[in-house]
């Protein structure tokens, strides 16, 4: 196996073929003779030398978290990545994925030059072309489509630090259909609920102050398993300092292990449990009334509304003992306000996600955990005035995905868009045909919400698929033209400015020259824009943007930033409520909304799902011989992006199907049996069989696999068909308020291989 993997060393060998020839002559000698020819082998002397190499500062791009990274190169080859101690995102640590960043760069399976498709879609036949040819191809193909259908026929999907450039390109071309899957495929519903309650979301870099918390109540947010470094640190730190952990999840995840109480809840009933807690807190007068009176809106309505959600009722729904619900509510309230109730990050589950997170947000409000240590801290802006960036005017065309005012999902932000809405529009050609996709670092085939039939048909409706990516993902294999992006270790990016507890600026500088014929996303988008004579919008390159920082930073600050890679702005207060400062709640009432006024109108028109206070509805249940399909992160991989990274594949290269022993007994299965998954709705059967893992760690009636595997791209010589793709077995639901996807109502049959 080792021989077929191009490792960094393997690459080095290829790159320095001449020196290899010389050393080959030496290694041709029998090595003991070589050893003895030296006067004396100083035993172990080799272990005293360490060449750290040249340091360049960067931030990680293996996942969205962007940890600070110091890149060490020896003789122009990256040797090691190490965490930047000063970066608050990771404080010097890197996870497995971050450490494995090198292997993703020195990977012969990468896209190595611009390519144009020659074979059928998905066949993987491309011809190598020049950059000019590729740009011209886009113009040649896209222009007629724009002429015929209008610029809005182009939809753009973006994920990664280079996002501003495809965004700019799409706007300049005149299409409003820009989506970032992070909203509808991930944290959309959650952010919506926080925003409706507190006026702001907890953001992608979540503001939970776990390190100082006395009690964390976590509704299936797997901090230890999804490993965003600072959060995982804080989680471990909080627990080490003695915080209680109530962990609510049908599956015993890596985080559940450490729980004081792990509540193995019935899938889809998290809201009922939260309502039960709220009921007990109100009933027993445990709310932090100081906070409620000062900052909250609608406590009386809430009191009335919660009467019906007794712990006994919640117990019936959730399968958790009423006494336990009461006890935990009491314990939680006892440590208020230094407590935090945390919803999942990817809250695209049962179609009641916004309301579920609303209930959890209310729980936080009643504890008064906002703006206090151990609760939820407040993000601060970098106190600098950056020059305003000029953007093209917002396009006149209506969005295709139903997001924005006057549309089906009026609350969904148009800056992020509904990716699932674009999939649907492409498939149904409504409200108008989408004929072209621009994919930047995204892979709809691995996280679409419309199933195997839907997404492939949608691809068929497209006349043009443009991909900008570092690697051949499943969807990139379907692209008509591919622009190879340099990896984060090979390119500049704009300064990374993060609003945070301690806000900071960090820089990305290339550690090496691009190995292959690749460019940064800025250059690629500028190149395309030039064909349309729109390249005026691309004025300053990322490198120039970095240099421009000197206009807003002092000389000393600039020096620190250059040296450390990070510039912190420390004179801030993340805990206003604890220090008596009234925070700014950007809700329509200016207060923390226990009762959401904004939803009143929709509630009247469209019913319970839009209730200003959460109303519980039973989840859809699988038929008798079916299982609910649950999926989640593994600590060893980043979404569906890293499954071709050899070192991460060593850590995990399969997705065993978790099943409860009782279910297994019923089905006549035992641990280690090989099984297929079959989608109960579409009949789609998994590509290959998987090992059954029979364990109490998963609730009866549900099966679980890890997310991100089962790639269909043959260009991935190592990751191809490793594990099973959960994507084909999830539901295509939509949360009615946020418009984000709902995956966990998908049901599967488990059949023997």
């Amino acid at each position: 196996m080792s021989r077929h993997n191009i490792s960094r060393r393997g690459f080095l060998k290829l790159a320095t073929a001449s020196s290899v020839a010389i050393t080959a002559g030496i290694t041709g000698l029998p090595s003991p003779l070589r050893a003895s020819s030296k006067k004396e082998v100083k035993k172990g002397a080799r272990f005293l030398k360490y060449d750290r190499g040249v340091k360049t500062t960067n931030f990680c791009e293996m996942c969205f978290w962007n940890c600070g990274v110091n890149v060490y190169t020896r003789n122009g080859v990256i040797h090691k990545l190490e965490g930047n101690k000063l970066n608050p995102n990771n404080r010097g640590h890197l996870c497995a994925k971050g450490n494995a960043g090198i292997q993703s760069t020195y990977d012969a399976d990468r896209v190595q030059s611009p390519l144009i498709r020659t074979g059928n879609r998905g066949e993987g036949k491309f011809k190598k072309v020049s950059w000019e040819e590729a740009y011209k191809y886009v113009h040649k193909k896209l222009n007629p489509l724009i002429d015929e259908y209008g610029p809005e026929t182009l939809a753009t999907f973006m994920h990664g630090t280079g996002e501003p450039y495809p965004h700019m390109l799409t706007l300049a071309l005149g299409s409003p259909n820009i989506t970032i899957p992070a909203y509808s495929q991930c944290l959309g519903s959650r952010e919506m609920a926080w925003a409706l309650t507190f006026g702001t979301g907890v953001s992608g870099h979540e503001t939970y102050d776990m390190a100082n918390s006395k009690h964390m109540m976590i509704f299936g947010r797997n901090f230890a398993g999804s490993v965003q470094v600072r959060e995982t640190e804080d989680f471990a730190e909080g627990l080490a300092r003695g915080a209680k952990l109530t962990y609510i999840d049908p599956r015993q995840s890596e985080s559940a292990v450490r729980a004081t109480d792990w509540l193995q809840i019935n899938p889809g009933t998290d809201m009922a449990l939260a309502l039960g807690f709220i009921h007990v807190i109100i009933r027993d007068n445990l709310a932090n009334m100081d906070f409620v009176r000062k900052y909250c809106y609608g406590y009386n309505e809430l009191t009335e509304h919660m009467k019906k959600y007794s712990p006994q009722w919640a117990s019936k729904k959730t399968g958790i003992d009423a006494k336990t619900i009461e006890r935990i509510a009491w314990e939680f309230a006892k440590d208020a306000p230094n407590v935090v109730a945390i919803p999942a990050r990817r809250h695209t589950r049962y179609g009641n996600d916004t309301q579920t997170v609303r209930a959890i947000a209310i729980l936080n409000a009643l504890m008064g955990s906002w703006g206090v240590p151990g609760g939820i801290f407040i993000r601060n802006k970098v106190p600098l005035n950056f020059p305003k960036e000029e953007l093209p005017d917002a396009p006149d065309a209506r969005r295709a995905d139903g997001a924005g005012k006057g549309e089906k999902y009026p609350l969904a932000p148009i800056t992020l868009g509904r990716t699932n809405g674009i999939y649907k529009a492409t498939l149904t050609k409504k409200p108008y045909p989408i004929k072209a996709w621009l994919l930047y670092g995204t892979n709809p085939l691995s996280h679409s919400s419309i199933g195997v039939n839907g997404i492939y048909k949608a691809l068929d409706n497209l006349d043009l698929i443009i991909a900008i990516d570092t690697q051949f993902s499943d969807t990139v294999m379907y692209a008509d033209v591919i622009f190879p992006e340099s990896t984060y270790l090979e390119r500049y990016d704009a300064p990374f400015v993060q609003k945070d507890k301690t806000p900071f600026i960090t820089l990305r500088k290339p550690a090496i020259k691009p190995i292959y014929d690749t460019k940064g996303c800025f250059d690629i988008c500028k190149g395309i824009a030039k064909e349309f004579e729109l390249d005026d919008w691309f004025e300053k390159s990322p490198k120039e943007q970095v240099e421009e920082l000197s206009q807003v930073l002092s000389e000393e600050q600039m020096k620190t930033l250059e040296k450390d890679g990070v510039l912190l702005f420390e004179d801030v207060n993340p805990y206003p409520c604890a220090s008596g400062v009234t925070p700014d709640f950007a809700t329509s009432t200016g207060k923390v909304q226990l009762y959401v006024k904004d939803l009143e109108e929709m509630y009247k028109k469209q019913g319970d799902e839009f209730s200003p206070m959460p109303i519980f509805k039973d989840p859809v249940m699988p038929a008798k011989d079916e299982f609910r399909m649950l999926f989640g992160r593994t600590p060893h991989h980043s979404h569906a992006r890293s499954q071709n990274n050899w070192i991460l594949l060593e850590l995990q290269d399969d997705t065993p199907v978790w099943m409860n022993p009782k279910d297994a007994k019923k089905m006549g299965y035992k641990d280690g049996d090989m099984v297929y998954l079959v989608n109960a709705k579409t009949g789609h059967k998994s590509d290959h069989s998987e090992r059954l893992k029979v364990t109490n760690r998963i609730k009866e009636g549900a099966v679980f696999i890890h997310h991100g595997f089962g790639h269909t791209t043959k260009a991935w010589t190592r990751g191809y068909e490793k594990g099973t793709k959960e994507n084909w077995f999830v539901s295509d639901g939509v949360d009615p308020i946020s418009g984000a996807a709902a995956f966990h109502n998908g049901f599967v049959k488990v059949v023997r291989a």
Partner: protein, 380 residues
């Protein structure tokens, strides 16, 4: 030179050619190692680092030491019945030892870089706590000794041959005991870390020596040597009986541990354990019980049946080595609070062919020696 000798010479040549063919299959394994390296070619792993090549080594060494001991019995104890075909037996012993070295050569690191030579270079480090160092020391003495013995026997220097045999007898026992110690010294492998392990090792080696002599007696048509056949039959029977006793009780006793590593290991050998088939059918039934029955049926004097029994004993010996070497490594756990992980050892094609080729190497050395020293003409 009479016709029968000519015929014998012809047969010898045929055997030699056959041996070369068998040895040639090893080329595949060598090619694999040369092109892809050992990791890719062998079935051994981090958890099971000792595979069929080490097993093959201990097997061939057992044959060598077994025959050396048997060959010297006649000299040492002056028992006339044992006094048969000393030259052939000594030659076989030498050949088996060379085959053993050949096998382990491929197991050691960097065969194409001749890293085995480092052993010679660093021998003067005197790593006296290392069982392997002692083993190497003894076999470095054993090899020339066996060569000398062959030389003395061929050149009919009876006295020198006697002394060589005498030293060879003790050195053989010590050397093979040290090889057993290489395994048994590992406190972390409870299956090996018992005194019965070494005893079984040496008994089975002597048994295999007996078996080889019986086979040679049959093949060379020395059917008139009924006295010798009888003596070796009885000796083999007693050895097999003791081996059976040790083997069976070893399993029974050790299975009765409470969740110890040893009892967990024993479960590999019984019931549905991965080594159970090997243990039941090849090691116990084929390697011990059936040979014993054959010896009894033949009334301890049938040349044919005892040769068959001998062959089975030799095959059984291989499986006994396989079971014990692999079985000792299959279970591991980093902490005593964890359950054992059962690892898998699958013999790879390259490994297997290299092992088979060692049989060829044994043949080549033996039949070459036979040709060179005119061993066919041996009469007693």
């Amino acid at each position: 030179m009479n016709t029968s000798t000519a015929q014998k010479k012809q047969t010898n040549t045929i055997w030699l050619v056959l041996s070369c063919l068998v040895a040639a299959v090893g080329l595949y394994g060598m090619l694999q190692v040369f092109n892809n390296g050992q990791e890719a070619s062998y079935g051994i792993s981090r958890e099971v680092p000792w595979g069929i090549l080490i097993i093959g080594y201990s097997f061939f060494v057992a044959l060598s030491v077994g025959t050396a001991i048997i060959g010297s019995l006649a000299h040492v104890f002056k028992v006339e019945a044992f006094h048969v075909m000393s030259k052939k037996v000594a030659m076989f012993s030498l050949a088996a030892l060379i085959a053993a070295f050949y096998t382990i050569f491929w197991e050691l690191a960097g065969p194409f870089h001749l890293q085995a030579l480092r052993l010679v270079i660093y021998f003067t480090q005197f790593e006296i706590s290392s069982p392997i160092w002692w083993m190497v020391t003894f076999y470095m003495l054993e090899l020339p000794l066996l060569a000398l013995e062959v030389y003395f026997l061929v050149s009919k220097k009876a006295n020198s041959a006697f002394f060589a045999a005498l030293v060879g007898f003790f050195l053989g026992i010590i050397a093979y005991g040290t090889l057993a110690f290489v395994f048994a010294s590992n406190a972390t492998r409870p299956l090996w870390h018992t005194s019965s392990f070494s005893i079984f090792f040496i008994l089975s080696a002597i048994a295999s020596g007996c078996a080889i002599v019986l086979i040679i007696l049959f093949l060379t048509g020395n059917k008139e040597k009924i006295k010798s056949i009888k003596a070796f039959n009885k000796m083999l029977f007693i050895l097999l009986f003791s081996m059976l006793f040790i083997d069976v009780w070893n399993v029974f006793i050790n299975t009765y541990g409470v969740n110890s590593e040893l009892s967990a290991t024993m479960k590999l050998f019984i019931g549905k354990g991965v080594l159970a088939n090997n243990f039941y059918y090849y090691e116990l039934l084929g390697g011990i019980v059936i040979p014993m029955i054959l010896l009894v049926i033949g009334g301890f004097k049938s040349s044919f049946l005892s040769a068959i029994a001998g062959l089975l004993v030799v095959i059984g010996l291989f499986f006994a080595r396989f079971d014990s070497v692999v079985g000792g490594q299959l279970l591991s756990r980093p902490s005593t609070h964890m359950n054992f992980t059962q690892h898998i050892y699958r013999v790879s094609t390259s490994e297997l062919l290299l092992f088979i080729s060692a049989i060829g190497v044994l043949g080549i050395v033996y039949f070459l020696g036979s040709k060179f020293f005119n061993l066919e003409e041996e009469i007693h």
